[in-house]
Amino acid sequence: MEQRTTIDKSFKSEPYQINMGPQHPATHGVLNLLLTIDGEIIQKVEPDLGYIHRSIEKMCERDSYQQIVHLTDRMDYLSSNINNEAVCLVVENALELEVPERVKVIRTIIGELTRISSHCLWWGIMGMDVGALTTFFYGFRDRELINDIFEETCGARLTMNYNVPGGLMLDIHPNFIKRVKKFIAHFKTKIPEYDKLLTENIIFQKRTKGIGILTKEDAISFGASGPVARASGYSCDVRKYHPYSALDKVTFNEALRTEGDTFARYKVRIQELWESLSIVEQLIDNIPEGEHRVKTNAVIKLPKGEYYQKVETARGELGVYVISTGTKSPYRLKFRSPGFSNLSLLSHIAKGGKIGDLVAIMATIDLVIPDIDR
């Protein structure tokens, strides 16, 4: 150690700032993080947002409610169907419109398939971010099957626009039930493969265990939701506490862990794959017969008042807050997006870690930038 003193004299250590993003592959979109680092130790992470802000909330103030549904696809594009559902639910609740059971069940099935598809993509990218490129192809292989089902029924693979206020745009394709069942059987054999390939990988475990620990108190205070919060032992599943559509008819366990580290967030999402699969399995044989849509007025006017609807997207709690003055457009519409709140805790849990850890943490927070930059 004494030999190093000469080096210490000539070089002094001081914190400096570097930019991570907006074109960094690990930020999964146009997110710029301004890192204050001392050597490789992170002292502060400051997100610089707004690269793809489209001001959806302002656009909503001049659009009709049917048009707003289309804008929500472009927020969290990996949970597009659940976003659509949130706006439809808020309109239906405000109009006190009872949608048929068939609609509720189909919405829940497609919502859970969306969650599986989103988690598949996340799993692939999670592996890629920590240096295991193979997972990307495995994740995308299985996700393709879900997207094919969506394409057949909804006509689109990603931004589906399948929900409309009052029900669904079209009835399901005749092949839908058959293909979903085929997918369930296929995917049940694949999740154990995921575990073998990545979860049990010792290098992966060393990269993730004990990294980026978030305590339960902080998770609540930062407004965390979804798998990020549940990995810290904070039970917050909207599907359990404020069930919507057909979620009150199914039984499932809320994926909960208490460690709060990166590995726990990973494990929660893997368990959610099983739970979502089980929800789809419970409903797919019991889709009630009936209409796929209730007729609404061509121009929807919500009664004067305030409405709030929360749903559980693949990333956490999405809230839609509508203030209506009785006209065809909302007076004010606010989207409480899960990604925005989850991003705010990034600096807190990345502090004291290395840049490599930050990449692993960001992968498990599962940021979708258009969701943050609404």
Binding site: D218, I220, G223, C236, G305, Y307, Y308, Y321, R332
Partner: protein, 186 residues
């Protein structure tokens, strides 16, 4: 907890609005050096400091005056009976004449929800208290509100624009914002 019970508890924190008001005015007049524009007479017009509204919303709404706002919020969080520890939505609203902020709070223990509203009439220099130190999530959300509505939050650690650039003129989500090039008016 039911809305009635919540209303009862919250009202009990401010037992005698008249007594509170008198003490508050005398306090303020001690501190104020005349720079505050708001005349004292206007304060005494307000019949009560808290206004409970249940109509037109699925939750219990509380409208609070800016002076009492921070005290109410910290009480809502720390009181064991209410324990609103989860601030799940913080929205800026332009009500035409007033600017304000709406806070949606939930208790993760009791699972009840309340909506707190605070308004200010000052559109030139709107100023409200920050709740960053009560709920960490408010830091980003308040920056968003500052960015789009221009509401300044006292005691905010890092109040600057979040989405827009520093040199952006105006606050886009206000109702009187004009942008002839980029905004399509139907």
């Amino acid at each position: 907890m039911t809305n009635e019970a919540l209303q009862g508890i919250i009202s009990s924190w401010f037992p005698n609005p008249d007594a509170d008001k008198v003490s508050e005015i005398t306090e303020n007049s001690d501190v104020e050096d005349g720079s505050e524009e708001q005349p004292e007479a206007q304060k005494s017009i307000n019949p009560s400091l808290l206004e409970f509204i249940e109509e037109g919303s699925q939750f219990l709404n509380v409208l609070v005056q800016p002076e009492q706002f921070y005290a109410l919020m910290s009480q809502l969080k720390t009181n064991e009976e209410t324990c609103f520890d989860y601030l799940f939505c913080l929205s800026g609203v332009d009500w035409g004449e007033d600017l304000g902020v709406v806070y949606h709070l939930e208790s993760t223990i009791h699972r009840h929800i309340i909506v707190v509203k605070v308004k200010t009439e000052d559109r030139e220099n709107p100023n409200l208290d920050s709740v960053c130190d009560i709920w960490y999530t408010a830091e980003f959300h308040e920056r968003e509100v500052f960015d789009f509505f221009g509401i300044k939050f006292n005691n905010h650690p890092n109040l600057k624009r979040l989405f827009l650039t520093e040199d952006w003129v105006g606050f886009p989500l206000r109702k009187d914002y004009v942008d002839e090039i980029n905004m399509v008016i139907k």
